[in-house]
Every structure is written in C-alpha cells, then in structure tokens.
Symmetry: C2
C-alpha cells in the first residue's frame, strides 16, 4: 500500500468516479461479492489429468508435465477473457487495468508446478482462483482503482524461484543451481519461455506493488481440526535447506569386518535419527525433515562409500532457526568424530520468516465474516511465493482446509465448497485492499 | 573327483601313456610348472579401460560395458589359441581335451562383470588366469588325463547367476528377477548370447565335473596383514539378502508437526542403526550391511512415504545366519510397532555356506609350497561362483592378496607379482587335481 492510508478526499474522488460511469456495480462494504467457484473447481478437475502418474501428480518444474500445466493455465487465462504474457523470469501474468492506471498493481497468484508424487491442489487452487477473481472483476465490472495482476509463478516447489526472480533475489551464479528436473534454473527459465538475458525486466522494485494476496490450501490440519472454513495467515515460517554429504569408504560387504568399516550410510542413518531427536527435544513448532537421500554406489553387496542427503528446517523465529541449524551441524561433527566418515554441511537455501500485513489480515478477516464463513488466524508452516513478495510489498494469504492435513501427497484434497469459499474471500479481499 | 582316489594301476597306466608319446614334458611332482603371468597382467592392464568411468569400473551384468568386457574375454580366449563357445546360460567356455576324453572335466574360471563403481581385479584375475592356465597346458603340452574347461561365468555380482544356471539352481519364475542393469535375468541371458529356451543344455549334473578350482583376489585384508602370498580357501560364507520395504506416509515437510509424522526414512534410519548394533553385539565373523536405499518421493520438502533398502548378511555357519536374520526381522517389527510405519522383510537370495574339498586344499597347499610361496588357509567372506559349483563337484579356491583389503571399490588393487603367483599355483593345482 504505497501511498499510505486512504484520505477522505481520495475516497470522495473515488465515489465520484464510480458514480460517473457505467462501472456502478461496486458493492457497499456490507454486501459481499461472489466469484464463480464452480469454474475454478471445473478447471481443477480437468487439470488433475495433467502430469498424473501412478505415483501422484508429477509436474516438477521444467519437466514436460510442468510445461503442459503452464499451457493449461495459459488457456485458462484466455478462456477467462484475459491476455496472459510470460515475463523474462518465466512467470505468467495477466493484467486488468484499474481506473487509476498509474497506481501500482494489486498482485494475486500462486503456482502450478508440483513436488514429485504430489497432489492437484497445492498451487493450482490459488492460481486458478486468481484467474477467476480477475475474470470476476471484469465480468462484474468492478471498477478497481489499482490495476489487478493475476500471476502464475514458475517453480515454486524448487524454492519459490519465479517470485525470487520477480524481486531480484537470485544472482547469476545461483542460476546454475540444478533443479529437481535435472535442469539448471538458467535452462529452466528458458524452457518456460523466459529470457535469462533480460531478467532485470521482470524485477519489481519495493513499492511498485500495492499489495500481494495469495489463496492456498493450508497443507496442515489446523482448519479441519478446528472446523474453520478460512484461515488468515499471520506469517510464513523461515526455512533452511541444508545439503549434507557423508564420505566414508566403499568396500566389500562380505569381506570387511564390522569394526573396519567406513560406512557412509550407517553414519547418514545415525545423523537422520539425531536430527529428529534434537528437533523434538525442545517444545515449539520447529520441524526438521531428511527428505532426500542418495547412496553411492547403492548396491546391496557394497558398503556405501558416500551418501548425500538433505535437511529441511523451519520455524517462524530466525533465532530458533539459527539454534537448530547449529545443533544439526554439531550432530554431524560428532558422528564424524566417532570415526570413519566425514560430513560436509552446506546451506543451499535460506528464507527469512515473512510476516503478513496487519491491514490486509483485517481485510481478509472482514471478507470472511461478511461472507458468513468461520475463520481463524494461523501461521503457514509451508513456504510460498508470498514470502518473497513480502519483501517488496504488504502481503497476506488466505488458507482453505486440507483434508487430514495432507499435502505433497497424492492424497492431498480440498473440498470444492471450501475452494469456492476461498475464491470469494480473495475477491472481497482484493476489493477491500483496493481501498487501502 | 568322481571316480574316487587314484589307484596304483591307474597311475601306472598314466605314466605309460605319458612316456609313450610326445607329451613328455609333464613335470615330476617336485618340479613346479610356471604359466606366463605377464600375459595375464598385460590383459588386466588393457581390460582396465573397459567400463571405466569417473566412479570406477562399471561392468554391471548385462550392461553395454559388460558386453564389451565379455567381448574382450572372447578375444583373449582366441588369442590364447582356444575356441570359446557361449553356452545356453550365457557362460563363456573353452575346452582343452585330455588324454582320456571320457573323463569329466576339470573346470576353472571366474567372472568379468563388476559391481557399480567397482575395481578391475574382482573376477578378471581368475578369468584371465584360467585362460592363461589353459593356454599353458596347451603350449607346454601338459598331457592332462581330464579335459580342462576355462569358464567366464556371466553375472556373478548379481548373485552368481551364470554358475547357478550351470547347476540348474534357477527356476523359471526366478528368471523374471530384475538385475542391477534394469533387465530381467531372462533378458540378460539373451543379451549375453544364451538361450532361455535351452537352459537345460547348460546344466551340469552332480558328478559330471571332476573338480572346480577358482583363482580370485582375497577382497579382505588377511593375506596382506599376515604377509602371505597365497590363501587356500577353506570355505565360502553363506549369505542372506533381505529386501526391506518401509511404508510410512508422504506429507508436507513444513506443515506436519513432528509428532504427527509417519516418516519412512526416519524408520529406515533407525533400522539401519539397529542392524549394525545387533550384528556387532555378538563376537564372531558375521557381517551385515545396508548397501542400497531408495526413498520415495525423495524430495527435500516432503516427508518420505516409502523407503526400500537391502540387507546383506553373511557367516560361515547356517545357524548363525538363522539367528541374525531372526534378530533383524525382530528389529523391523519393533520399529514398526513404535508407530507410524510398517515393514515388510523378504528374503530375495539365500546361499548356503560351501566348504572346500580337503584333497583339493592339500593340492593347493603343496603347489604353493613347491613354488616357494608362503601360504595360509582362510575362509572367504565374499560369495563366488565356486559356492555353486561346490554343490555338484569338489571345489577349492586360491586367493591372492588385496592391498588394504579393499574390494568392490575403484581402489581395489592386487600387485602383478601376486597375480602371477596365483596363476602359477592354479596351474600346478590343476595338474595335481588331474591325478586325483
């Protein structure tokens, strides 16, 4: 909300503008608007076939299935009467002009890429919800002062890459990082239609965005457990991704006595148990996960000589993150010291906790109440593109319930009614934010 | 040694036969024979380029590199003046006829396939050594009574497949097992030039082989530590291969509280530590190794929903194998019982311990002594094709030292002089066995 709080004069100007033309249907704040949730759910149902494998949804960023998913999204933009473009970072953006074209845009969006063997809701709900809200603004001729931009960010699951690029937070060398698809980010940007040479054209400066709002499934079980329909997100946890390499010595599994081994997998197993133990030794919401492991040579009759694994550590408090990262490094050092192996621990990604904007949270709360939904405030344990946008603009998020708290899984599911509710809240929150 | 011990009459007949013709150079038992170890070492040096990658030697059975290795071996047979054939099981065999063609053959050999990221000595030393011995028998006109067959067994590292097929120990369904290369054994047999439809033609009945001798690197550190040049193998450990599947539940690494997880990788890590602890809790030579692990979805921000891993368990005593297999299954059951995951433990391979033949061991001991080498007797912690052949014929093995006891590793190494010694011992042991 650059331009600060609304003044009486601006409000009067706005009313005058509205009453002057045909864009008369902007509702009084007590009468909530409705989008067409059925369109969003129909799109999600059709999207379920894209990247579907026996293991779940596989639209890993930069894969063929991801490209198919982006193609689906482009078509959906067009079917909504919008004109999508792909920016230099590879993000898909469509814009609805406001009545005051020189104002910074309200940006809404999410992503359509998935984890390996994931579900169909993490990302697409907010992406298609944003498209529906932009369409509703057009169709219902809601004369917003600010331009409205609906965005599908590229490669969220690989570390909010598209939104990081959009705030200029990725440097040249980092673009050579290899993504889950096996392609570098540099190759990925090109593959999704961006241009690495023109990345600066995709960067949004601090103050150039009025606010950022994102609808998303909760991916946890709080809303379902407490029987709430809408969550107003108070903030997004900070995250540390650690790459751990364990070096031992590959030798014959039959001829090497137990006391003469340098077994990298045994050391990695001890480390995995230690990470779990230490993070649970303290009360709090911190979580740590060893999600990925690769042993070498990974043959049943050879003692593993090397293991690569990852740690995902999250908390809302940067001090807590620092403390646990130090303890994890200490655990690695102690296992290495016990003999036979060496550990190297590298931080590959670090994201700061991102706090939501107070007035945007109030706008979501009020929209929820005006629509007659039950709501609550809660933090997000998952990372989102919103955490990047929070660095350059006021940010808030809207959560809808995940059945069983399940996400990043083929069993991920959100009820169509809850999705429609979330889209309605997003629409009303956009209108409310437009007045800020 | 079907036909039992040599009789005075047979010995006299043999002497008469020898003195009658031009095959006069058979040495008296006190004058040792020599093969040309330099030829074996030259072949090994050239072979080092076949399947060599940055990670080590990769001639995994049925891979392109394995086929190249087999082609190299075929050429070596031919260069030695031998005529190799490929039997229906895909094993390469060349035969030198004896003076008594109806006697069962003496079989010598080893393999040329490797583990992933292995070395150049495990297998090729004994294979090329056998070719050299057959060549020396021809070149030195050593009139053996028995035919001599030099064999390169296919797919030793995948579970002594070629030698199992040669004794009829693999049934139809087992041929559908997927080997390390990704191909089934059925496909593998075809790929190496065998014929699944005619497998029975490759089967050797009990009593149809006079004896089996195999030269091999020790793959352990006993000979080097005790400064012995030759090892006479007393027996080969029995082996159990267990396939362990751990089922948990894949969920989001950021939003799932630590106390609500069903983390398959954490359970697999606890199991890996438990296997190591339990096998070391008792004195003895038993070894157990978790060598292979595959997590799913294996993504850094997802709690692993499933892990597949392997256990390799070995000992010379079947009772000890039974006891530790039961304890490993118990450890799996206890971790599963603690909650969140289920374990399934399947025995994929079981090989019985195989004891060497006493008279063949004496023949090796005497050959070693007559050549002036230091020797010792020791068990083999590694499996070998010899363990299969022991089921149908008297068997013994000759070990040469492995530097640092290292094997199944790119750092695997045996000195050329030690290899030449081993080939000489094999030649003299063959001649001695021919008299049994």
């Amino acid at each position: 909300m650059p331009g600060s709080a609304i003044t009486r004069r601006a409000f009067a100007t706005r009313l005058a503008a509205l009453s002057a033309g045909p864009l008369l249907r902007l509702q009084p704040s007590t009468r909530p608007l409705h989008a067409d949730g059925a369109r969003v759910n129909a799109a999600l149902a059709a999207f379920d076939a894209v990247g579907r494998t026996s293991g779940g949804i596989n639209r890993v960023a930069y894969s063929d299935a991801d490209l198919a998913g982006r193609g689906f999204a482009l078509d959906l933009f067009r079917a909504a009467g919008l004109t999508p473009r792909i920016d230099a970072a590879g993000n898909i953006i469509a814009r609805v002009e406001g009545t005051e074209p020189r104002l910074p845009p309200i940006v809404i969006g999410s992503h359509v890429d998935s984890v390996t063997d994931g579900g169909n809701f993490d990302g697409p709900v907010g992406s298609f919800g944003a498209i529906e809200v932009a369409r509703s603004v057009n169709e219902q001729r809601l004369a917003l002062r600010h331009p409205l931009e609906a965005v599908v960010w590229q490669n969220e699951e690989g570390g909010t890459i598209g939104s990081k690029l959009a705030i200029g937070a990725l440097t040249g060398a980092e673009l050579d990082t290899v993504a889950r698809s096996g392609k570098t980010l540099r190759e990925g940007v090109a593959r999704v239609g961006g241009s690495v040479e023109r990345l600066d054209q995709a960067v949004r400066a601090r103050g150039s965005v009025h606010c950022y709002l994102e609808l998303h499934i909760e991916q946890g079980g709080t809303l379902e457990r407490t029987s709430r329909q809408i969550g107003t997100v108070t903030g997004i946890v900070g995250l540390r991704w650690l790459d751990v390499a364990v070096e031992g010595f590959a030798n014959h599994a039959g001829t090497t006595p137990m006391d003469q081994r340098q077994d990298a997998l045994l050391a990695a197993a001890k480390f995995t148990v230690a990470v779990n133990d230490l993070v649970r030794a303290e009360t709090g919401r911190q979580v740590a996960t060893v999600g990925r492991i690769l042993a070498s040579p990974n043959t049943r009759n050879v003692i593993p000589g090397r293991v690569d694994l990852t740690v995902d550590l999250r908390d809302l408090d940067p001090v807590v993150l620092d403390r646990f990262e130090a303890r994890i490094r200490q655990a690695a050092a102690e296992i290495a010291k016990a003999g036979g192996t060496t550990f190297s621990v590298t931080q590959s990604v670090s994201s700061k906790p991102a706090m939501s904007d107070g007035r945007l949270m109030e706008a979501i709360d009020r929209s929820t109440a005006s629509l007659g939904f039950s709501g609550t405030r809660l933090p997000s344990g998952a990372g989102h593109d919103a955490q990047e946008m929070a660095q350059i603009a006021p940010m808030a998020m809207i959560f809808v319930p995940s059945i069983g708290g399940i996400s990043h899984s083929p069993r991920e599911f959100t009820k169509p009614g809850d999705i429609a509710n979330g889209v309605d809240v997003l629409l009303n929150a956009v209108v409310a934010a437009d007045r800020l």
